[in-house]
Amino acid sequence: MSRAVPGGRDARAAVITALLVILAIALLPMGAYVAILLSWFVVITAGAYVGISPLRLARRGAIALPFLLAAVPVIFLRTDELLWSGTVGPLSFSISGAGLRIALTAVLKAWVSVQASIVLITYVDAPTIVTALRRMRLPDAIATSAGLTIRYLELLRDEAKRMLRARTARSASPVGVGRERIGGSIGWRARTTGNLVGSLFLRAYARAQRIEEAATSRGATGSLSVGTMPAADPRLAMKVIGVFLLALFLTLSGALLPRL
C-alpha cells in the first residue's frame, strides 16, 4: 500500500524536508491560523503525491489532539484578553482569548506536524531513513542498534502479543467453587506482569546471541550496515535549497498573513 521504495534510495532530502517543514511550522507565531492552514495544504499535497488521502492524514493526525489537555490551564488561568468571566454555581472562572489562542495554535501545529511525519514514513521506510541518517553522520552504534530494533520490532511485539494472549486465556472466573478475590492481588498481578517482562527479555537475549553467532560466522565485525549504500542523490543540493525556500516561504507567510 505504501509508496516506500525499499533500501535503494537516498532519503536525505526527504528527511531534511520533513524536519525543515516541521521547524517552519513551529516558528509560526501564535494565532497564525491561516499560515498553519497553508502549511497543512503543503503537507496534504505531499501526502497525496505519496498516496495518502488528505482525510486519512487528517484523521491520523488526531493522535495529537489529547495534548490539548496540557494547554487547557492557560485558557482558564490567563487574565489577558478576557472573553468571558463569571460564576457557574460555586465556581468563578474566566476564559482568556490569549490563552485560547495559545492552546489552539499549539494543537493545530501538533496536528499538522504529525501529518508531516506520517508523510515521511510513508514515502521512505524506516531502514532507508536510518541509512540516510548514517550518511548524515549518525554514529554507527546508534544506527546499527536502531536498524536492529526496527528489524526485530514486529517479531518481539508478536511474541509479546502471544504471551499476553496466553495469559488472558488463563485469566478466568471460577465455576462453582468458592473464591476469594478474582484476579489476584495487585502485588501478584504486578509480579506476573514482571514475569512476562523478564521472560521476554530472556527470549530477546537468547535471540541476540543467535544473531551474533550467525553474524560473526559470516564475517561481521560489529558494524551491521546492511547492504551497500544506495547511490547518492545527484539532485540533493537542489532539493535541499528548494526545501529551504519552502520553509522560508512558510515562515514569511506566518509573518505576513493575518492573525487572529
Partner: protein, 314 residues
C-alpha cells in the same frame, strides 16, 4: 510524556536537541571505551534486540482499577540490564523509533523527549539506582529494590521536567500543569517500580548470570552514607525545584530567554479584514468564509483523487 511538535518553543526544542546530542555523544564514547576494555553489554546487536524488547515489553500491563492499568516505560530496567551508557543508547533508539514509526512524540521535540525520558530517566535513573544500591548495602536485594525506587523517581523527574518545559514555552500554566503532571505520574511511577522489581527478580532467579552490572565490592559505611546523601541531595533539589516554580518567575525567565511570543494586546477580532469589496458587513464576511470553505473542500477532493491514483500506481 512524549511531547508532540508545536508545544515547545522552537528555541527550547533546539537547545534541548543540542544538549541531548552532547550527552549522547558522551555515552557513546564511554560505551566504546568499555567495549575496548572487554565489556560485553555494549554490543550493537544486543542493544538493538533490547530496544525491540523494551518496545514489546511496553505492551505488558496489569489492571489496577477499573479502566486504568500499570505498565512499563523501561528506562531504569534497560539501564540496570545493560549499564547506564548502553541503556541510554537503547532508550534513545527506542524513543527515536517511537517518534519516527508511530508519531509518538514529535521530530523537533525528539531531542527534548530523549532528554526527559532517556537522559534524565535512564541515565539519571540508573546512576541514582547505583547510588541507592550502594547506600542500601550493595547486595542483590538492595540493588533490585534500588532499581524500583529509581524507577519511580525517574518517572516523576521526567514528568516534572516535561511540565517545566511546557511552562517555559508558555503552553501550560505551571501552577496547574506541574502538580497535574506529577500527580498523574505518581501512580504510573508505582506501576513502573513494581514491574521493574518483578522483572529483575525473575531474571535474577532464572538467569542471574545475565545481570550486567558489576557487583559492588567496597561497601564501607562512609561510602554508603556518601552515596545515600548524594542521591538524596539530587532528589531533594529536584523536588524543591518543582515545588517552588512559580508562574511569574517562569514567565520572566522565558521572556529573558526570548521564548514568549504571545503578542500583548492583539485585538481578538474575528474575521477582521476578511471582506469582499463592494459588499459590506456580516454578509460579506460570511460569503468570504463560504468561498474559502468551498476552495478548501475542492482542494481536498482533488488531492484525494490524486492520492488514490498514486496509491494505485504502487
Amino acid at each position: 510524556m512524549h511531547l508532540p511538535d508545536g508545544f515547545l518553543a522552537p528555541q527550547l526544542a533546539l537547545a534541548l536537541w543540542a544538549l541531548t546530542a552532547v550527552i549522547v555523544g558522551v555515552a557513546l564514547r564511554r560505551l566504546a571505551a568499555s567495549r575496548e576494555a572487554g565489556g560485553a553489554t555494549g554490543r550493537p546487536i544486543l542493544m538493538g534486540l533490547v530496544g525491540a524488547f523494551i518496545f514489546a515489553a511496553q505492551m505488558f500491563n496489569f489492571p489496577v482499577a477499573t479502566g486504568t492499568s500499570g505498565h512499563l516505560l523501561g528506562g531504569v530496567l534497560a539501564g540496570y540490564l545493560l549499564g547506564p551508557w548502553a541503556g541510554t543508547i537503547v532508550m534513545t533508539t527506542v524513543i527515536g523509533v517511537q517518534a519516527l514509526l508511530f508519531q509518538d512524540g514529535g521530530l523537533l521535540a525528539l531531542g527534548a523527549n530523549i532528554f526527559n525520558m532517556g537522559i534524565i530517566g535512564t541515565l539519571g535513573g540508573t546512576l541514582i539506582a547505583r547510588a541507592l544500591a550502594l547506600a542500601l548495602g550493595g547486595g542483590r536485594g538492595a540493588r533490585i529494590a534500588a532499581a524500583g525506587i529509581a524507577g519511580w523517581l525517574s518517572v516523576m523527574a521526567g514528568a516534572g521536567i516535561t511540565a517545566l518545559q511546557l511552562g517555559l514555552s508558555g503552553t501550560t500554566d505551571i501552577s496547574v500543569g506541574l502538580p497535574a503532571m506529577l500527580g498523574v505520574h505518581v501512580f504510573i511511577g508505582v506501576g513502573e517500580a513494581l514491574i521493574t522489581v518483578a522483572a529483575l527478580t525473575f531474571i535474577a532467579t532464572t538467569a542471574p548470570d545475565l545481570l550486567g552490572a558489576e557487583p559492588v565490592t567496597h561497601t564501607s559505611l562512609a561510602r554508603r552514607v556518601g552515596a545515600g546523601a548524594g542521591a538524596t541531595a539530587i532528589v531533594i533539589s529536584l523536588a524543591t525545584l518543582f515545588a517552588s516554580t512559580d508562574p511569574d518567575g517562569l514567565n520572566s525567565v522565558a521572556q529573558a530567554l526570548g521564548f514568549t511570543h504571545v503578542e500583548a494586546g492583539a485585538p481578538f477580532n474575528l474575521f477582521a479584514g476578511y471582506a469582499i469589496p463592494g459588499l459590506d458587513g456580516a454578509a460579506s464576511t460570511i460569503i468570504a468564509a463560504l468561498i474559502g470553505a468551498a476552495v478548501i473542500v475542492g482542494l481536498i477532493l482533488l488531492l484525494s483523487r490524486v492520492a488514490a491514483s498514486r496509491k494505485g500506481d504502487a
